[in-house]
């Protein structure tokens, strides 16, 4: 009897317990630290947070070193003999393995990939949002994608155009598309953005129609120079005209104006000022990935940053750039490069201001100022170790003013067009310089170099010029004495920069046609040998917007 009871109990118990494991929900676990696609894209605020991520993290690897390493380093604004993220570019010795090149390539494609995900997820998954709201969000993403493709086209020429990353996953080995298609792709994206972005930002710092027109001006102007003959000396009038119209929109219709004080542009407190058309939005006190690390690479010493992240001692202005400053151009010079004896009251506030007296092997060289904002205390807590919290300018009004002048000048060797001079001189007079009555390309080149030094632009100016005046650009690069000058003495009072020619100072390569483009990263060519093959024409599926300027 007892045995039977036990048996019954036992099996009863066993049956119940065996049932526990059968419950289906046991294997269904919802994540708590992320969202799944099914429950997002349901409101305008969802769309806004989906595009918010495109303003910082995806650009981080680009901003960290490549922005200035290439934009200024390659254009010989910088001399940084020990910074392997700058000197290979200055010395024209970069290879398919150069670190920042690889991470910039990846960063542009992260911008593209995440923009594609936003665009496609909105198209596929959004519910309960209006068509206008969808288009505005897609326009933001397409602006980002178009901008990234402009960089890729400028740097590598033929690259892979991607609209859907999920299909690429299954077969990543695809052909590149020709540079002209990449430009067209970028222009189509920016045209869509210009059409659907609002004229006033929905949130401070977000893109507007004017951002898109400004960027279009840059891209049209670049594209205008492309032809079969890189030394044709002329540009496409159609695209010069488009560039002029796009720039005109920004200069004349946006209602935006330059900041009155040049140096104020580079203060954290003035992030997203009226002059900013597109800037990367870094997070004060943010996590790695959403912060602006540039100050750590520029700051000459710990006295400025207040921590050990100050690695800029050997990241200096080049002899070449210091030589180009007009003597009266001291406002911009001081805001861009520190000269011996300069005092910056916004730095080291607690000691009454920072006085730059750094010597390099007893020489008075210049370290970088632009991007250096000071310690946590100097910035009311905005900056922290390796994070200046300063937004990175990708496009600002002064840039578009100069593009406008250049577009108006068009294929002429100079211009005294009133509008061209008006905007050109707005930039000059703000810098405390005398206005000009006539402008040549050389004036524009010089003005852009000085105005935008350390804003990652000058190399792209050279690339733009090289599309139709290639030999001029190569000659310029090859006559800058990159190989022969290291340290120099700069006197800020007299604006004189002196150095001795050292015949064996550096191992630099000669600029050649090939060197105007970057090598594809090795990791990419290994995985996709098609990258080095002839590009394949891209098939555009949707109609191009043609009524932007009607």
């Amino acid at each position: 009897m007892k045995t039977i009871n036990k048996t019954i109990y036992g099996f009863f118990l066993a049956t119940i317990l065996l049932l526990i494991g059968c419950s289906k929900s046991f294997l269904e676990i919802q994540p708590n630290d992320r969202l799944t696609l099914d429950n997002f894209f349901q409101s305008e605020s969802d769309l806004q947070s989906a595009t918010a991520g495109l303003y910082n993290k995806v650009w981080f690897d680009f901003n960290d070193k490549f922005y200035y390493g290439l934009g200024d380093g390659r254009a010989n604004n910088l001399y940084a003999p020990y910074s392997d993220y700058i000197y290979p570019f200055t010395d024209l010795t970069e290879s398919s393995l150069t670190g920042p090149l690889v991470s910039a390539w990846a960063s542009f494609y992260n911008v593209i990939g995440q923009s594609n995900n936003v665009i496609n997820n909105i198209k596929k998954n959004s519910k309960g949002v209006t068509e206008d709201q969808k288009n505005a969000a897609i326009a933001e993403a397409r602006f980002m994608r178009g901008t990234a493709y402009w960089y890729l086209a400028s740097l590598w020429g033929n690259v892979i155009l991607i609209e859907d990353n999920t299909t690429l996953v299954n077969n990543p080995v695809v052909n590149t598309n020709p540079r002209s298609d990449v430009f067209e792709f970028a222009m189509r994206d920016l045209e869509f953005a210009a059409k659907y972005l609002p004229s006033a930002a929905s949130q401070t710092g977000r893109l507007t129609k004017w951002s898109a027109f400004g960027m279009l001006a840059r891209v049209y102007l670049s594209y205008a120079g492309i032809s079969d003959n890189p030394n044709s000396g002329t540009r496409s009038t159609t695209y010069l005209e488009l560039a002029r119209k796009a720039a005109k929109k920004v200069c004349e219709e946006s209602g935006l104006a330059l900041m009155s004080n040049y140096a104020d542009l580079f203060k954290v407190a003035n992030n997203n000022n009226s002059e900013s058309l597109f800037s990367l939005q870094w997070v004060p006190n943010g996590d790695y990935g959403v912060i602006n690390t540039q100050q750590a690479y520029f700051a000459v010493s710990s006295d400025i940053t207040g921590d050990d992240a100050a690695w800029g001692y050997y990241t200096m202005a080049s002899f070449n750039v210091m030589n180009e400053y007009e003597t009266a151009d001291s406002i911009r010079r001081k805001a861009t490069f520190m000269a011996y004896g300069d005092k910056y009251t916004e730095l080291s506030k607690s000691t009454g201001g920072y006085i730059y007296t750094t010597l390099h092997n007893s020489k008075k060289c210049c370290n970088v100022k632009k991007g250096v904002v000071g310690s946590t205390k100097d910035t009311d807590g905005a900056s922290s170790r390796m994070n200046s919290a300063l937004n990175t300018y990708m496009l600002r009004l002064a840039d578009v003013y100069l593009l406008y002048t250049e577009a108006i000048m068009g294929n002429n060797s100079s211009t005294n067009d009133a509008t061209a001079l008006l905007y050109f001189n707005k930039v000059r007079t703000r810098a405390g310089l005398l206005p000009k009555t006539s402008v040549t390309y050389e004036d524009i080149r010089h003005e852009r170099r000085m105005e935008l030094a350390m804003e990652g632009q000058y190399w792209y100016d050279e690339v733009r010029r090289s599309y139709y005046k290639q030999q001029e650009v190569l000659d310029r690069i090859n006559t800058e004495d990159r190989a022969h000058i290291d340290l120099y003495n700069y006197d800020k009072i007299t604006n004189t920069c002196t150095a001795t020619i050292n015949t064996s100072a550096r191992a630099v390569n000669t600029a050649t046609v090939d060197r105007l483009l970057m090598p594809y990263p090795e990791s990419e060519t290994v995985q996709n040998p098609l990258l080095k093959q002839t590009p394949v024409k891209y098939t555009f599926t949707e109609a191009r917007i043609t009524n932007l300027f009607n």
């Binding site: 036990k6 294997l27 992320r34 991520g53 910082n56 392997d84 992260n110 390569n509």
Partner: protein, 1052 residues
């Protein structure tokens, strides 16, 4: 142990003794029972054959006296010894010697969800006894296995106290997934993978609590663990109580650890000489302090500053005992291991207890609980201090005259003070955990039992980081930062097992087990950060500036539901069959892909039990085994790889932003490994020679692989989506294992036993996502990320991948060669380089132009070494002489290559850091005609080592010479005297008087000496962060220390 059993039997039998009937022919027989070593045996049962009541037991000196008919026979039996039948033949004094029973006959092996006699095993299982544990200095259970089990390759990934090992049971099964086995500790499953070199998931377990370890190797043995068993299963049984008087055991040692080897770095004179040469070459500015290097001293030896002798202490106390129905064991342990590098160290406290009780005649219950707390210093690894110490220059002083830390005079391209950082930065991890198991086991009918069991493992893992303000020379940090993180891990499993055991007709032995199990594991994480502390004293977050606060939190859970069964059938103890079947469902896959079947079957033939071999004088035991099984792996780090997710990203003003987090693969499912095994167990001469040999073949399919995609897919770097996980490709492992135990000498006062294990494994990738598919292993150093290994079809996993150096440009003519048609051709130069002092020059390396396209570029990289050993082995010899014992164990690896990665920088004479002494021997160039030009046709190499390149001023040339090539691949073969252990057991006769059962004094030498040609610290390298693709890459790995300990073992 032995004494306890004896006493127990003693007591029992005494009670049973009844007055004996005496017959007329009865005589009194006296005598002593001893073992083969001459030790008296206490409590030996002596019975008259055929009588049920006439018997006695031996007393404390082994003496007995029995009244017995003079032609009768004595049946002498004793636990653990072969029984003896002795004819009286009228003798009155009979001294009996009992042979110890061959251990393997009674040995019980823990298999999944049950136990089996070793002789009944059909699968491949290796065991490591408690004896091996006590004869080595191990701080964590994974280290015990080193060189002790065939088919098990153990390499410590770091010598840092508390660090992890890479354990490969029968090779590498997975490319991206974990390759670590699981550990089943008294029923609680612990995953051996942490994905980190520093963090060892097994570090909370005290090795001295362990009674035995059984390693389930082939699929027929592991299939019962189904989804988690792909990399093998290590069953760990902790010590349990036995009925009888309480037994108290203390075991403890103190010792010191030291660097096994130092690298020869430049001293100040040499550094100054080299720097002068660098400045002469225009690489650096001249240093005014180095005008006369010969007047300088040795400078700072940073290696000696960072490394020093370090103490190590452990104390373990255990109490075991019990009544007839209830047994218990309690253990406490303490370990304190300082690191040989400043800024490392490991401390652990353990408490463990278990109780088993027969609460009803038919119902048994028990509970195991163990609590641990450990504290590991991580500064040395988190701050890469070893690398810094190797590179910091000897002209920088470690300390100022006042004792404060000094540093370099500038901040640019200098190293910080590693000693200073190690000592002032707070960086440690404290782990606390509680692990338990409880069961209720009912015997429902004879042979039929039901067990319900609940296990859990909860852990708290806290990290503490504090970076104070400091100034080391010109390096000044005034930002004080503090970081705290807490993670909470949970695991529970609940299972129900029905077991049926019976023997039919005396020859059909059957065991059937059916079970169900549910497991759930997960973690939660929370992180906080503040800076702006006003002082370096109080480190908690609330002391920092609230406006600088950062925080984060995340969690993840996964579950597995399972049903399983096992059938064991033995016919006449000659033919044995084990079959298992498991069905597992995992939450890591989408519906429709969640469930997998995992079957196995194994057959064994005990040949020695056949009539033709029975009582064979040579072959004592012989068993042939044949098995097949299939196991799974669901061990992906991502719980939601099957669905698309969005992750949050911070913004400055707009609240939380979202970015796509991953690329989903809804079809993701189990990785499965099918394995076949053929084995033989042979025992010769009463098992004085025992040989186990196994041949296996394993094929893993549907590999869990995170697809290696080009960066343009958007899967690399900040803001990228993680690449998708997919079931891609297959690979195989095949191999041979041998394990040989011999008793070479077994005399009264002297014995010598040997153990030899040998493992050979060959790994090969059979397919990947595409025919040209590749998976790369990368190492990032500064801003340079380099592919160091490549995995391709037809090759073993993780082949070193780089350029081949085939020579050096010695003279102008080396820039040209004649092809097979006799045409003069230029030697292939690195892409973008021409002959020139800033390009390719005399004294530069010539790389092999693998694809013969006339230029050296990434296409010329090729396989330059295999990290997989041709074979590994272990040899242990144990000697005992009277009360002394000595054990020497060796372990070795043969035929594997390793990468000495830091040589890429430390041997580059143009580099601006301190360097290896080798860097001094760079190729010196001289002009052939002194008045001639600096032209490659007028240069020759006039000095330096034949294998060194020139000092190149151009970074392009210098980078080119030190690109990742076979120059940095070295022979990793080694033979290591792993351990020498010497013990002395105090004579029992003395101890008895003071009430002590056993007292042993011993000394252990661990990691005594390594025979190797390797130029780095230690050829045992392991896998960086347990990553199979980064096996054998030494990137300033923390060297494993040499350890000398003295200890004592006491029980009463």
């Amino acid at each position: 142990m032995k004494l306890t059993i004896k006493k127990q039997i003693n007591l029992t039998l005494l009670m049973l003794l009844i007055p004996m009937w005496i017959s007329a022919q009865v005589i009194t027989v006296k005598g002593t029972v001893k073992d083969t070593k001459g030790e008296s045996l206490i409590g030996v049962s002596i019975l008259e054959v055929g009588s049920k009541s006439n018997g006695t037991i031996t007393d404390i000196d082994g003496n007995f006296s029995i009244k017995i008919p003079k032609n009768a026979k004595l049946n002498v039996s004793y636990v653990g010894y072969n029984k003896a039948i002795v004819n009286i033949d009228g003798r009155t004094v009979i001294n009996i010697t009992l042979d110890e029973e061959a251990k393997s006959l009674t040995e019980v092996v823990v298999v999944g969800y049950g136990k089996m006699k070793r002789t009944d095993l059909t699968g491949s299982i290796s065991s490591v006894s408690n004896d091996a544990i006590s004869k080595s200095v191990v701080t964590s259970v994974d280290q015990i296995l080193q060189g002790r089990a065939a088919g098990v390759q153990v390499q410590q990934n770091t010598g840092m106290p508390g660090g992890s090992s890479s354990i490969r049971i029968r090779g590498t099964n997975s490319i991206n997934g974990s390759n670590e086995p699981i550990y089943v500790i008294d029923g609680v499953i612990i995953d051996g993978s942490s994905g980190s070199s520093d963090s060892n998931p097994l570090s909370s377990i005290n090795p001295s609590d362990i009674a035995s370890m059984d390693i389930l190797k082939d699929a027929s043995a592991t299939a019962i663990y189904g989804s988690r068993a792909a990399n093998g299963v290590i069953m760990i049984t902790t010590k349990r109580g036995k009925s009888g008087d309480a037994k108290i055991t203390y075991n403890g040692y103190v010792g010191w650890q030291e660097m096994p080897k130092e690298l020869r770095l430049l001293n100040l004179q040499e550094y100054a000489t080299l720097k002068n040469a660098r400045s002469a070459a225009g690489i650096v500015q001249p240093d005014n302090n180095f005008v006369r290097p010969d007047l300088l001293g040795n400078g700072t030896d940073w290696q000696a500053e960072l490394f020093s002798k370090a103490l190590m202490t452990t104390h373990n106390l255990s109490i075991t005992g019990g009544s007839e129905k209830t047994t218990y064991a309690i253990g406490v342990g303490y370990l304190n291991q300082d690191g040989i590098a400043v800024g490392s160290g490991f401390k652990r406290y353990n408490l463990r207890s278990n109780i088993d009780s027969q609460i009803k005649k038919w119902l048994k219950t028990g509970v195991d609980l163990s609590v641990s707390n450990s504290n590991q210093k991580l500064t040395v690894s988190d701050e890469s201090l070893i690398k810094i110490a190797l590179k910091q220059t000897p002209d920088v002083a470690a300390r100022n005259a006042d004792g404060s830390f000094d540093g370099p005079q500038t901040t640019e391209y200098v190293q910080t003070n590693p000693l200073g950082l190690a000592l002032i930065k707070e960086n440690y991890r404290e782990k606390s955990g509680i692990r338990g198991n409880t069961y209720l086991e009912a015997t429902i009918l004879k042979g039929l039992s039901y067990k319900t069991e609940f296990s859990f493992d909860y852990g708290i893992d806290n990290t503490y980081k504090f970076s104070p303000s400091y100034s080391f020379g010109a390096i000044v940090n005034s930002t004080i930062e503090s970081e705290r993180s807490k993670s909470y891990t949970k695991f529970w499993s609940y299972r129900n097992i029905v077991n049926y055991n019976n023997v039919f007709n005396k020859i059909h032995s059957v065991n059937i087990m059916l079970g169900q199990e549910a497991q759930k594991s997960g973690w939660e994480y929370i992180y906080g950060y503040r800076s702006g502390f006003v002082s370096n004293v109080a480190h908690d977050l609330s002391m920092g500036d609230a406006t600088t606060a950062k925080n984060a939190g995340s969690s993840g859970f996964n579950s597995i539901s399972s049903y399983f069964g096992r059938l064991f059938y033995s016919y006449d103890d000659r033919y044995l069959l084990t079959a298992t079947l498991r069905r597992d469902g995992s939450s890591k896959f989408a519906e429709g892909h969640q469930w997998g079947w995992f079957p196995s079957a194994a057959f064994a033939w005990k040949v020695s039990n056949e009539s033709f071999l029975k009582n064979n004088p040579t072959i004592y035991s012989l068993k042939l085994r044949l098995g097949w099984g299939k196991v799974g792996n669901q061990n992906l780090p991502d719980n939601y790889a099957f669905t698309s997710t969005l992750t949050s990203v911070q913004t400055a003003n707009w609240g939380t932003g979202m970015l796509s987090g991953n690329t989903a693969n809804p079809d993701l499912t189990w990785e499965s490994t099918a394995s076949s095994n053929i084995g033989v167990d042979l025992g010769l001469f009463k098992n004085r020679i025992e040989l186990t040999a196994d041949l296996y073949y394993k094929k893993t399919e549907n590999l869990l692989l995170q697809l290696p995609l080009p960066a343009y897919v958007g899967t690399t770097g900040n803001g990228s989506t993680t690449p998708p996980w997919a079931n891609v490709g297959s690979l195989q492992n095949k191999g041979l294992e041998l394990s040989l135990n011999t008793v070479n000498i077994d005399k009264k006062n002297f014995s010598w036993k040997s153990n030899f294990v040998f493992s050979l494994n060959r790994n090969k990738v059979l397919s990947l996502n595409t025919q040209t598919g590749i998976v790369d292993g990368k190492v990032t150093e500064g801003s340079e990320t380099t592919i160091v290994t490549r995995t391709t079809i037809g090759q073993p996993i993780g082949q070193f991948y780089g350029y081949k150096v085939i020579g050096r440009f010695e003279k102008a003519t080396d820039f040209y060669y004649k092809d097979k048609n006799g045409n003069l051709k230029p030697t292939a130069l690195p892409e973008g380089m021409a002959i020139g002092v800033n390009g390719a020059w005399i004294g530069d390396y010539i790389f092999q132009d693998v694809n013969n396209d006339g230029v050296i570029n990434e296409k010329d990289r090729t396989n330059i070494g295999n990290p997989e050993p041709k074979f590994t082995y272990g040899i242990t010899n144990s000697f005992s002489y009277k009360n002394f014992d000595l054990s020497i164990s060796l372990s070795g690896s043969y035929g594997n290559k390793v990468v000495n990665y830091q040589r890429r920088w430390l041997e580059n004479p143009a580099a601006n850091t301190n360097l290896l002494e080798k860097a001094l021997h760079y190729a010196v160039l001289s002009k052939i005609n002194n008045s001639g030009p600096v032209d490659y046709r007028n240069l020759y190499i006039s000095g330096g080592d034949a294998d060194m390149c020139r000092m190149a001023a151009s970074s392009a040339s210098s980078t080119s010479n030190f690109r990742f090539s076979d120059k940095f691949v070295e022979d990793g073969s080694y033979l290591r005297i792993q351990n020498i252990s010497i013990g002395y057991n105090l004579p029992k006769s003395i101890l008895k008087k003071i009430g002590i059962d056993n007292l042993k004094l011993y000394a252990n030498l661990q990691n005594v000496y390594t025979f190797s040609v390797y130029k780095g610290y230690d050829p045992e390298i392991g896998a960086m962060n347990q990553n199979a693709l980064l096996t054998g890459i030494d990137n300033a790995r923390y060297p494993s220390p040499r350890i000398v300990t003295f200890g004592l073992n006491l029980s009463f």
